[in-house]
Amino acid sequence: MVRIGLLGIVALALLPGTALAQMHGQHASEAACEEPTLRRATKVTPAFGPDGTLWLVWMAGGQVSVASSQDAGRSFSAPIQVTAKRLNLDWGPDARPKIVVDRKGGIALAFSIFRDEAFNGQVLYSRSGDGGKSFAELKAITANNESQRFEALALDQDGTIFAAWLDKRNRVPAKEAGQKYEGAGLFFASSRDGGATYTEAGLARDNTCECCRLGLTFVAPGRAAVIFRNIFDGGVRDHAVMTFTDVATPGEVHRVSNDDWQINACPHHGPSLTVAPNGTYHVAWYTNGKARKGLFYAHSRDEGRTFSAPMLLGQPGRNPTRPYVLAGVAGTVMVWKEFDGEKTSVQMTISRDDGETWSPPKTISSTTDTSDHPLLVSNGRQTYLSWMTKADGYRLTAIEDQP
């Protein structure tokens, strides 16, 4: 009787342990992912240098590393670690390290970490002035200690680097005044020394959605354009575009589309923006609004003041996600992910008439395990899909000229 009782207690003791054991098992299997190598990366961001070198920055094992390829991603140089120790990197779905390579080969980086147990973020940056052989010690992009996340970098023609990010500093005075503060502020700064130092942070727009990536590019010298998920009246989280007058002066906010997505939540699903050489803005975004649901594309031919009617992307039953758009010499290309219940595919469509018409979407890559967002990158002659997958590693795929 006593023996049965003891056995019963042992059995009871083991029952909750089953869940723990499974958790530990999962951690053990992920221990291999602790290496900071490209093969173990969860987020990989590409950029081409002026000499055609492909540069990658990635997150793996709590570290940020950089390597380059001279043969379009077939082989890579020995990685250089940008981080001196493991950091609690921002591993949110829309977070990733950012990279720009200037005309002189200088490399500027930025990424976010969680700096405390409340998941308050901090944007850190670094640069390399010796062609990626070494990187400067990490610095905070702003001295302010409130949460910052979702940084973006863009390079101007004269080498100026423009940074934008989401910043919660304005919740402090709001709280002190007993007022409710929604979302986060869209902040910006710029660097005229290749990313060695940045100007004081400025506010472009307060109360934007706090958990989606930004889209950032230059429209013309000095004029950065940013797309972001705004919070419009009534808590509607629809997209907006702002074009800066110069790197120190924010412009007006223009609504991309009236999707009417009223939600008090973190969509974790940010937009994409590219500006063609003729000035056309091409944007792609996700919404689950009352007016429309899914992935959409639109363009603007008046500097982002008004946009074309939204065009639905992808097959609604296949969960289209993570759109990315890039204007290149051969046309404007869009990619996104779809999932069929077993595998994730990257769908691609191309427009050769500045966004008026688009080719039928086609699958250009697929994988059977988790994957990073599909990104597009151009060396000025050719546009590539840059995609990190857990099962198949890193892939750089040339977008074919003919769809």
Binding site: V10, A19, M23, C211, A265, C266, H268, T344, T370
Partner: protein, 165 residues
């Protein structure tokens, strides 16, 4: 010697068992197939499933309200699922659940990096936005609330569910 060792081990197990019996249930891994198990395990019972994450601002506000709701409505099965992406932080997740008064509910954490597949099993249209609440009626009808739920709406649904019993 061996017997003494066995005795010590036995005592250790006994102490561990008593400790574990008093402790909060562990976070359960949410993997491929877990969703169907959850549906089967709670079939016929009004069930509230709450998806959230430690890095989600609106979730931090909603979680304690849900804790109070669970306490006030023992007739409703409350389940939480931490749907942040891996690498996840079970300790931070458990800590937030404890602070919200949700230690004793059935709590899961996404434990498969292939989140597209996990989400697809739950709702093919769900892209991962959190918080998200699914209200499952006795007859299996699912009502999804995107974003923070209004407690008044939960009260209304709960009242309907318990009244029809």
């Amino acid at each position: 010697m061996r017997r003494r060792f066995a005795g010590i081990v036995g005592l250790g197990i006994l102490i561990a068992s008593v400790t574990m019996l008093g402790a909060a249930p562990a976070l359960k891994p949410f993997e491929r197939g877990t969703w169907q198990s959850v549906l089967k395990g709670h079939a016929g019972r009004p069930t509230l499933v709450h998806f959230w994450g430690v890095t989600c601002g609106p979730c931090k506000v909603e979680l304690p309200l849900l804790g109070q709701f669970a306490k006030d409505h023992p007739g409703i099965d409350v389940i939480t699922i931490s749907a942040d992406l891996v690498p996840n932080l079970p300790a931070a997740t458990q800590s937030m659940l404890d602070k919200a008064g949700l230690s004793s509910t059935e709590n899961f954490i996404f434990s498969d990096g292939f989140v597209e597949r996990l989400r697809f099993e739950i709702d093919p249209a769900w892209q991962g936005d959190i918080p998200r609440t699914m209200l499952i009626s006795r007859d299996g009808t699912i009502t999804t609330i995107e974003g923070s739920a209004e407690i008044a709406d939960l009260e209304k649904w709960s009242g309907q569910q318990l009244a029809t019993h």
